[in-house]
């Protein structure tokens, strides 16, 4: 029989240093890889499922304990795992937003937040960023007032990207949450670029929901993620089904409506679990990660004409860089055009920069070793020198 689908083995993480903006925090740990092999089969974690028949109650493997540990780690009261951060946004928006409700998000919000609002029938209203690409508490207050003027009521929900996907800037969630709460607006922290790589204390930040992505930042297979919340909000967002068969009178136990019952029944939850001890440890070394990010950004800035568009000095590993007056000048005359940069990097064992990009682009240094960070920093400088850009 002919095998209709030809899937090449993916070896990019073995052969290259990958600085792709979205992939750095989602590489599996060796323990997650081992667990994924053992739990690849469909419903593999359901062998020991018992009353009350819900994923987060399973004791063997210790999924129940994992949920408790996650909540404690984030300093929140309750956690559920979900198929990606976006499914967490959907669960919360679907619970809090009625058709026609205004919902606040920011000018740096990820598209999945817009879609969660749209899916719930809400109307998105953006909070402007300032000239430094930050969301300020003042801008939040002003925009809440605007929305109240426009809709004659406060928005039932606000989204904030803890670290935005465009610049990798870390926003002041604590001060912003305080403002939102002055208007009694629950605030959802999108931690897709923070939960699993930076330390997070939900109660200290004062947010109502912390949402994380397993495949983006918790070294887990896709789709995976989590919703953490307070005891107050857990009752609403994790409400159990009230459905009843009108003929059979069947009821459905403690299955949760927004979770659609169980969520990650195999390799995804096991991958998150197996990586978790490593993830919990790695967030403690965030300063080292930031130092390596700075090392590489400084190397780029030593190339004449290069600018960093993200906060500088860097406070995150995701960076937006402007090389229109450096690498793009080379591209204008290079026989390979803009592809010279990704090619020259690839020769040096580095991948993840979109082939052809030499204008404004992003990269993520998360998880590089000291040696790898040095190598990447030197590679940028070498490529610049070889192409006659001056380096200071």
């Amino acid at each position: 029989m002919k095998c209709a689908i030809d899937i090449d083995v993916r070896d990019v993480e073995e052969l290259f240093i990958n600085i792709d903006p979205i992939q750095a925090g989602g590489r599996l740990t060796p323990d997650a890889m081992k667990a994924a092999i053992a739990y690849g089969d469909g419903y593999s974690v359901c062998d020991a499922c018992q009353k009350p028949f819900r994923l987060d109650y399973i004791k063997k493997p210790p999924i129940a304990q994992f949920h408790t540990d996650l909540a404690e780690w984030l300093n929140m009261d309750q956690v559920r795992v979900v198929p990606g951060a976006r499914r967490g946004f959907q669960a919360v928006a679907s619970t809090y937003v009625e058709k026609g409700d205004p919902v606040l998000l920011t000018s740096l919000a990820h598209y999945t937040e817009f879609i969660a609002v749209e899916q719930a029938g809400g109307i998105p209203r953006e909070i402007p960023k300032d000239e430094k690409n930050h969301i300020t508490p003042d801008a939040v207050a002003a925009r809440i007032e605007d929305v109240i003027d426009e809709f004659k009521r406060a928005p039932p929900l606000m989204f904030l990207d803890h670290v935005d996907y465009q610049y990798g800037n870390v926003h002041d969630a604590k001060a912003i949450a305080k403002v939102a709460h002055q208007y009694d607006i629950p605030i959802l922290l999108n931690g897709a670029y923070s939960v699993g790589i930076m330390p997070i204390d939900g109660k200290d930040l004062g947010v109502d929901f912390v949402i994380g992505s397993g495949h983006k930042s918790m070294a887990a297979p896709a789709p995976s993620g989590l919703v953490a919340t307070t005891a107050e909000h857990a009752e609403r967002v994790f409400r159990t089904t009230r459905s009843k068969g009108d003929i059979t009178a069947r009821t459905f136990g403690i299955k949760e409506v927004e979770m659609m019952g169980c969520t990650l029944m195999g390799v995804t939850v096991i991958g998150m679990m197996a990586s978790f001890p490593h993830v919990r440890e790695r967030v403690k070394h965030w300063d080292t990660e930031v130092a390596r990010s700075r090392r590489i950004v400084d190397a780029l800035l030593s190339i004449e004409g290069t600018r960093v568009l993200s906060d500088y000095p860097r406070t995150h590993t995701l960076t937006r860089i402007d090389t229109r007056n450096s690498f793009d000048k080379v591209a204008e005359v290079h026989k390979k055009r803009g592809f010279f940069l990704s090619n020259d990097l690839k020769k040096r064992g580095i991948t993840g920069v979109i082939p052809g990009s030499t204008k404004v682009w992003k990269f993520n240094t998360y998880g590089l070793t000291e040696k790898q960070a040095d190598h990447v920093a030197n590679a940028f400088v070498e490529v610049a020198r070889e192409n006659n850009l001056s380096v200071s």
Copy 2:
């Protein structure tokens, strides 16, 4: 550092013949296992993502081709992969059902259908089963009339379990779809126990949606599944986002609202893809699977007092059996009580019967080889004989 989470290697599929009702069709193929190892990392399939930036357009690995192949295989027009069949129910219910709308499902409907209706704000109305545990076209027509009387309008959607989870009976989807269409009601076929194990021709059945489960019946990791639909309905259920940033004027391309953008970005879609050639082949041998199911059910029925509650002769591999007058009589006097059955089976290398169950229970013989089927059949008879039940 102490590893906080202790995950035992799962070896049940290597050490035992597993007749668990929900796990039989979700065991990975060796190709899926290999692909899972290569694509375990978070966003592993996103290396070559290009405009228009959506999972089902990715050419390397051939995810776009996989979507086309799935649609052709099911004889439907469009397919998307989703994190489990339940997420497919949610996508369709959310699109078709407004708050307060009645939604038809059956007395044998899976709980996730009820939850999808509840999540969309609909009101479930069950179609009764007949004395043979079948959903008949007449019962469907009668219940539609009831609902129209009650709500003064037809339901906007009807769910039908192609094969129900309670009895493993195969229902007459074609005749039922015809009735639903006489009232212009779109019909969703829940193929969690059929797509991937039985041949399906969506156009021949005349249904509007075919929903399948990767982890239940397509030899794929969890959570995975698919929504297949017609060209007519694809426009609605797969509508693209209309969101726009009111300050930034950002728009979000062709991301689909109900899919929340992309769905299965790594091991889940790759697992489905790698198993697909095998799945496409295996559905052609459904008659062999049914023959083995019959072999085992006949062995059980040879034990005095045993009854089969599912259709007989069997037309599926999932079976509900009543051993209240056979194995449960043993349990009443056995020192291990009801646990003797699962224990005695385990000694013979068979697992998946809930420990302690000797009254009414379910098992699934899907995927057993001829030898394994013989062994399971003989094991039931041997356990009966050893416990002094008479066998005819």
